[in-house]
């Protein structure tokens, strides 16, 4: 199984999420997964400008040429993508959110009904399943964790995928890796 970790942790310094992910990644590898981690903070990722070039001018292709050119094929190649998400004010950080926004080119502009709701049509035949590891800080609450999970479930649905795995850095990383592989 190919697992891509999109690491939203800080660029440097004492980042507890980095320590957690090192153990998580090692446990995934020892469980037989082929793991790649992309540290988003080390890449140049610009904000989506809403130009919609990817929908109506250069279909499927983002007009911004930056680190996302490496993320797109890695994302599509993976069987499972685990988002490692530091929480800020109880939800995904701006770095993670802007990366999510930049996945819009992977979808088609056309709309279709999915379980009675409007969603974008798939552009590609398959999309990876998604996982989510949140890194809460004081005073984040269980409600914040549940709310972030719900927002990612919605994000997965719109990305024509599904969220199959959820963990918090408050849990044991080896146990989280076992769950991620079994999900």
């Amino acid at each position: 199984m190919k697992i891509l970790i999109l690491d939203g942790g800080a660029r440097s310094g004492n980042d507890p999420l980095a320590d957690y992910l090192a153990s998580f990644e090692a446990a995934l590898a020892s469980g037989g997964a082929e793991v790649r981690r992309i540290r988003l903070a080390e890449m140049e990722i610009r904000f989506c400008t809403g130009c919609w070039s990817c929908w109506w001018a250069t279909p499927g292709l983002c007009a911004l040429r930056d680190g996302m050119e490496e993320v797109y094929p890695a994302f599509l190649e993976a069987d499972r993508v685990v988002w490692a998400v530091p929480l800020v004010l109880g939800t995904a950080s701006a770095l993670v959110k802007k990366t999510q926004d930049r996945l819009i080119p992977l979808l088609h502009p056309y709309i279709e009904l999915v379980d009675g709701e409007c969603h974008h049509r798939r552009r590609y035949d398959r999309y990876p399943e998604l996982g989510l590891i949140v890194d809460p800080r004081d005073p984040d609450t269980t409600e914040d964790l549940a709310g972030t999970r719900l927002l990612f479930e919605r994000f997965a649905l719109n990305l024509r995928s599904r969220l199959v795995f959820f963990a918090s850095t408050r849990a044991n990383p080896e146990e989280a890796a076992r769950e991620a592989l079994a999900a």
Binding site: P73, A92, A94, Q100, E112, L151
Partner: protein, 221 residues
């Protein structure tokens, strides 16, 4: 009282959010209040937006639903608020408008729930969140200023200026449909094979000479 309308659309001044801000501002003026400043977050940047936020008493943050939450530039702005002295945001009157291209407002409800939690955490006086579906293309319609939607946003501006709260009738009307009804879903399925549902996108694809390439998969591995 200093009021600020903060346009959080990545498209900045050529956005549907800008239209909604302008209609809210017209409502303020109709109620006899001064026209509030409309600040584009995309153009001004986070630093200036935070400076304006610091000195405002009442802020309405208007933005489109992006991948089921706030756009990245709005997240950067709220992340910056987390770094402020807690006394700065505390007590400010803050409301939100979240609009989406999808017609159902229910798709924005999880985000509205988050915005309420965030407001409590920052000590805002939470004015509520207006949800509006079906907003794609508003800015392209020269007649949209005379539409029911425009009238309802003016009503929201009038009520916020006059009574200090969003007009509940306008808020409820804008949130319809919350979900597609059975008849609409059947109609959607009947029309889907005709391609008529894709007309808006096809016009734009043809305008850019990209219609024949509309199913391209440039990042396929």
């Amino acid at each position: 009282m200093k009021r600020l309308l903060l346009n959080g659309s990545p498209r900045g001044d050529s956005s549907n959010s800008r239209c909604l801000c302008a209609w809210l501002a017209e409502g303020f003026v109709e109620a006899g209040a001064p026209a509030p400043e409309i600040l584009s977050l995309a153009r001004a940047g986070t630093e200036r937006a935070v400076r304006e936020f610091r000195t405002a008493d009442e802020v309405v943050l208007v933005f489109p639903l992006y991948t089921d939450s706030m756009p990245g530039i709005v997240a950067e702005f709220t992340n910056a608020l987390a770094d402020l002295d807690p006394a700065v945001p505390a007590g400010k009157r803050v409301g939100y408008v979240v609009h989406s291209g999808f017609p159902e407002s229910a798709q924005s409800e999880p985000l509205a729930a988050y915005l309420e939690r965030m407001s409590a955490r920052l000590g805002f006086v939470h004015l509520g969140t207006i949800l509006k579906g079906g907003s794609e293309g508003l800015r392209l319609d020269p007649g949209s200023g005379r539409s029911k939607t425009a009238g309802r946003f003016r009503a929201l501006g009038r009520s916020l200026a006059g009574r200090g709260s969003f007009d509940p009738d306008a808020k409820a009307a804008l949130a319809r449909p919350r979900r597609l009804g059975p008849a609409t879903r059947i109609l959607f399925r009947v029309l889907a094979p005709t391609g008529i549902l894709h007309m808006y996108w096809n016009v734009l694809l043809r305008k850019h000479g990209a219609y024949e390439r509309r199913h391209d998969r440039p990042y396929a591995v």
